[in-house]
Symmetry: C2
Subunit: 246 residues, 2 copies
């Protein structure tokens, strides 16, 4: 796979969601990609593009859910798996197997955070509205903020410190740094009160977040219309009743 | 990494849990591994061995949770990541990047199943007893059996069919086949009534389960004391009130 490959990302339009972790990697690398579902429907875009891919019976490697990346004849799904697959060509992971396993270990922990954040607003059923499971969501969110968030952030802070404090993997930015940036800003969107307190205790993660935001390609991306705003259709949702009490 | 490496698996003793996916790979390959926490405490075993590893401040690549695999100086965590890391040496994945991405995509979907099954008995808090969240567990389990289980099994059945019906990846057994065997038997333990109905609709998965169980090294393992029984400390727990009503 070379960077000449045409990369097509399939993800629901209108939200950052899990697709955002993939977008950040392409944006940081300055490598062109097509965000297929954000094209006009007349050009094959819209949510229908995602649905058609998921239902395509000719695919040897079907996907259960987006994001899905198509690179020529290869179709890859599962966010962390997509990142791992494209990172070498994007220059976003070191070459050796041990470093790649370490990067992926951290990325799967990012995936765990994403999954648990999703469950703060959907603890009972992915298929039902938040309003139908609000009471349980309050319980789950309380537990997440009290028990899980400190555990995850403490782990990432420690992992970053172990590697010198600047990068998670090796001596340069990897897809992991970009993804941890995304969970830091996502968590701050969803739980501003809880994160204000947590950030004070995780200075390395806060500095990493700010360094990633200042990377030229990321800064340009964040200022562009390609970066969607956080909203209540994504993973990170601002439901004030789920945040710490004032 | 060669098969001469000494493999040390760190996982809680007394339950199959996520460690079982790793055990099955070593057992099927017939490659020796040390299940460290199942050694006597006098030999460095017991749950303390896991705790010591998690707290080891000298590790460059700390783990948040078990299973953790140590191979010489390399320490790798996250179940799917461990499998991906060792599978080439164990002969449990094809050589090409596209096949490996496909295998890992499926394995991460296995991980999603495991996580959602865990949440059927712990929908509110991992840190609290099942009995403290039983009402919510009933709601979550009902949704899982009605909406998620058919989705996951339907996906795996389809994926297997797309590859010819016998193996998930390429033309030989991979770590994915072993892991899907494990979720099939685990689900049947946890939800015998729901799975009796589901199995009738997923003949390829049932046949795969039976073929894996009959593989000589797996059959020997399942008959050995190394294979722990399912129990209510693991991922797959038999709480009849969470299964389909009779």
């Amino acid at each position: 796979m070379s960077t000449d490959a045409r990369y097509e990302l399939f993800y629901w339009p209108g939200l950052q969601g899990r697709g955002e972790f993939v977008r950040l990697a392409f944006e940081d690398a300055g490598v062109a990609y097509v965000d297929v579902a954000r094209l006009p429907e007349a050009q094959g875009g819209g949510a229908g593009a995602v649905v058609r891919l998921l239902r395509d019976e000719s695919l040897a490697t079907p996907a259960l859910a987006p994001p899905v990346l198509r690179v020529g004849s290869v179709v890859v799904a599962q966010t962390a798996n997509i990142l791992q697959f494209v990172a070498p060509a994007l220059g976003l992971v070191p070459d050796d197997a041990a470093s790649r396993a370490w990067a992926h270990q951290l990325q799967l922990t990012v995936a765990d955070v994403v999954s648990e954040v999703h469950d703060t607003h959907h603890p009972i059923s992915t298929g039902r509205y938040y309003e139908e499971q609000k009471a349980e969501a309050k319980l789950r969110a309380r537990d997440f903020l009290a028990m899980r968030l400190p555990k995850f952030l403490g782990y990432f802070e420690r992992a970053l410190a172990r590697n010198g404090g600047t990068y998670f993997v090796g001596g340069a930015a990897s897809y992991v740094d970009l993804s941890v940036f995304q969970i830091m800003v996502g968590l701050a969107y969803a739980f501003p009160r809880a994160m204000a307190a947590a950030e004070a205790q995780h200075p390395l993660l806060v500095a990493l977040r700010d360094r990633v935001a200042a990377r030229p390609n990321i800064a340009a991306y964040l200022a562009s219309p390609r970066r969607l705003a956080f909203n209540e259709n994504g993973i990170f949702r601002r439901y004030p009743e789920l945040d710490l009490a004032e």
